[in-house]
Amino acid sequence: MQKDKVKIILGVIGADCHAVGNKILDHALTAAGFDVVNLGVLVPQKDFVNAAIETDAKAILVASLYGHGEIDCRGLRDMCREAGIGDILLYVGGNLVVGKTDFAAVEAKFKEMGYDRVYAPGTLPDKVIADLKHDLAQRGLLHG
């Protein structure tokens, strides 16, 4: 019997409606063998958490392209903890802050907020897929 594919939650957080990257990531992750639950754009924090619980997902991939990431993304890790999925993989990427900022500072800030990986603008899907496979394998969650 074939093992179930790993489920991952995908969505663009907050009041952000940038859909292009979301559609491409969906396509690329699906092609890479993941079972993608794509919440699309304009997704509140609680919808990410609820979807992860309902589908037993192993990772949440949050995108924020419009510069409000700092406000929108804060507290998601806490909400996961409160919902009993405190150790789920949390990735975030996009144009996370307003204005040109040193990416290392942005990365540090979002890591402190509880995100496992933070991606700069322009990151290609391949990089995210490779990281995801690595992190899931380390946790023994990836079925060869």
């Binding site: 907050g14 009041a15 952000d16 409606c17 940038h18 859909a19 292009v20 979301n22 559609k23 491409i24 396509h27 690329a28 699309g40 754009v41 304009l42 419009y66 510069g67 409000h68 700092e70 406000i71 144009n95 996370l96 802050v97 307003v98 204005g99 040109k100 900022t101 603008p121 322009g122 290609l124």
Partner: protein, 483 residues
């Protein structure tokens, strides 16, 4: 209220208006009669409609940036900087994303956090929260025509406050601010809500105040074939004209192939005049706006300057009335004001160098104009037919049927069945025409163009080709060739 493309009566309008002005406390400060008097004292050089008409007559292409921050004084400083250091002809006020979703509490929170942080944590100017008085502070401290730019499905209260505040141009439309900007708001609702905005502008016009309106041309900004954005622009133009709007700017986002881009602006002008005349909207002044490349940018600033310059060149050669300018920070998020001014200056230099050089109407341009016209007519006429002679009703049915279909749109009311890709010369074509009501000739044309490219690249057209095209410009090319 039942959706149809018919001018709202004053009773219909004022019944809704009472509700709109209650959506947030600042709505109570809107006083229409006082606003008319306020507009009567705005000098001609700050009136958007007048500046556009003058540019059209002189064959100018005006420059306009995108810009908006959370706090009033910072916003004023930003706009004046872009006028002085960027030599911008027209100025915007970009609205933050919370306001666009009518989340005024979150916007308030953003204002407060911005005050604390000493920098803008909002990606735009929360005009509703700042209210009429706050908006007027901006209007009175910036000596240029000002436009509201946003992406708001329900922009009624925002329109009331910014127009009463003295703005003279308002971007958006019931289709163009829904399909690319919302997930689950129905088209019936957004078209009605934008009829309200258009009717408000129409009532200003009845009082002698001319406000410019601009449907958002580029839609998702990603490989949108000209005929699709043209059909949407012309429908929104007609819906606005029906509500009494007299000055409309129709938009188009650069595709990247010069022949197609020049042809697109020429076709848009001709088609809009044709359809406006056909439906009796003969007293409306039409102008055009060309958006510099809306897709992914190279991260490198020097390369970004080339992308900006190419957009400026295409706008100037196509003789668009204005151009919306990108910045060398585009790939990195919201730009600094310095980067914004750099994009403007590069654009201004290019436009000025090209203003004396008309692009010849070659047979290639003429052929492209013909195909865009033929496609757009297929779309518009089918929408009109589906609506039983009503573009508003027809639009809702057309999106449901995939007769109108915008690539990569987030809205669930968009069928998402078509797939665009570039042909071998970089023009945007359709790899899958979905349910678009094209003639067999047109369908064959697209198929042949895509096959020609597939052959040149030695691969069958697939979704990978589309992905390659989306990332192509940021990787330094127009056509996403296989690596």
């Amino acid at each position: 209220m039942e959706l149809k493309n018919k001018k709202w009566t004053h009773d219909e309008f004022y019944a809704v208006r009472a509700e709109v002005l209650k959506q947030w406390p600042t709505g109570q400060d809107v006083d229409f009669d006082e606003a008319i008097k306020y507009h009567e004292n705005i000098p001609a050089n700050r009136q958007f409609a007048k500046r556009l008409v003058k540019a059209k007559q002189n064959g100018e292409t005006l420059t306009q940036p995108r810009a908006g921050v959370a706090l009033i004084d910072d916003h004023i400083e930003l706009l004046n900087f872009l006028k002085k250091e960027g030599e911008a002809d027209l100025l915007p006020t970009t609205i933050d994303s919370y306001t666009r979703q009518n989340q005024y509490k979150e916007a308030q929170h953003g204002i407060e956090e911005s005050l604390r942080a000493g920098r803008s944590l909002l990606n735009g100017f929360p005009a509703v929260n700042h209210g009429v008085a706050g908006v007027r502070k901006v209007v009175e401290n910036v000596d240029a025509p000002l436009q509201v730019r946003h992406g708001t499905p329900d922009a009624r209260l925002l329109a009331e406050i910014t127009l009463a505040g003295g703005f003279t141009s308002y971007e958006g439309g019931g289709i163009s601010y829904n399909i690319p900007y919302a997930k689950s708001v129905s088209l019936e609702k957004t078209i009605l809500d934008w009829q309200y905005c258009d009717r408000l502008v129409g009532i200003y016009a009845e009082h002698g105040i001319e406000i410019n309106r601009e449907p958002f041309g580029p839609l998702t900004g990603t490989l949108v074939p000209p005929s699709i954005s043209h059909a949407v622009a012309i429908i929104e133009g007609i819906l606005a004209a029906e509500q009494g709007v007299k000055n409309i700017t129709l938009g188009y986002g650069q595709c990247g192939n010069l022949i197609q881009d020049v042809a697109a602006i020429k076709a848009l002008e001709a088609l809009a005049e044709e359809y406006f005349a056909k439906h009796g909207y003969t007293d409306c002044v039409l102008t055009t706006v060309f958006h510099q490349w809306m897709g992914g940018f190279p991260q490198d600033e020097a390369k970004a300057f080339a992308v900006i310059s190419w957009g400026a060149a295409a706008a100037a050669l196509a003789k668009a009335t204005k151009v919306i300018v990108k910045t060398p920070h585009e790939a990195l998020g919201i730009p600094t004001k310095e980067a914004n001014a750099q994009g403007l200056r590069a654009t201004k230099q290019m436009i000025n160098m090209l203003r004396d050089q008309p692009f010849p109407l070659t047979k290639e341009v003429e052929a492209e104009i013909e195909i865009i016209k033929a496609e757009t007519r297929c779309l518009l006429d089918k929408v009109f037919e589906l609506g039983g002679g009503d573009y508003a009703v027809g639009t809702v049915r057309a999106f449901a049927a995939g007769v109108l279909d915008v690539p990569f749109a987030p809205s669930k009311f968009n069928l998402n069945k078509i797939l665009p890709a570039r042909d071998n010369n970089g023009a945007v074509r359709l790899f899958d025409v979905g349910n678009l009501p094209f003639t067999q000739d047109i369908i064959d044309f697209h198929r042949a163009k895509i096959e020609e490219r597939g052959k040149a690249e030695g691969r069958s057209p697939s979704f990978q080709m589309v992905i390659d095209d989306i990332y192509a410009i940021s990787n330094g090319r127009l056509v996403g060739r296989p690596r």
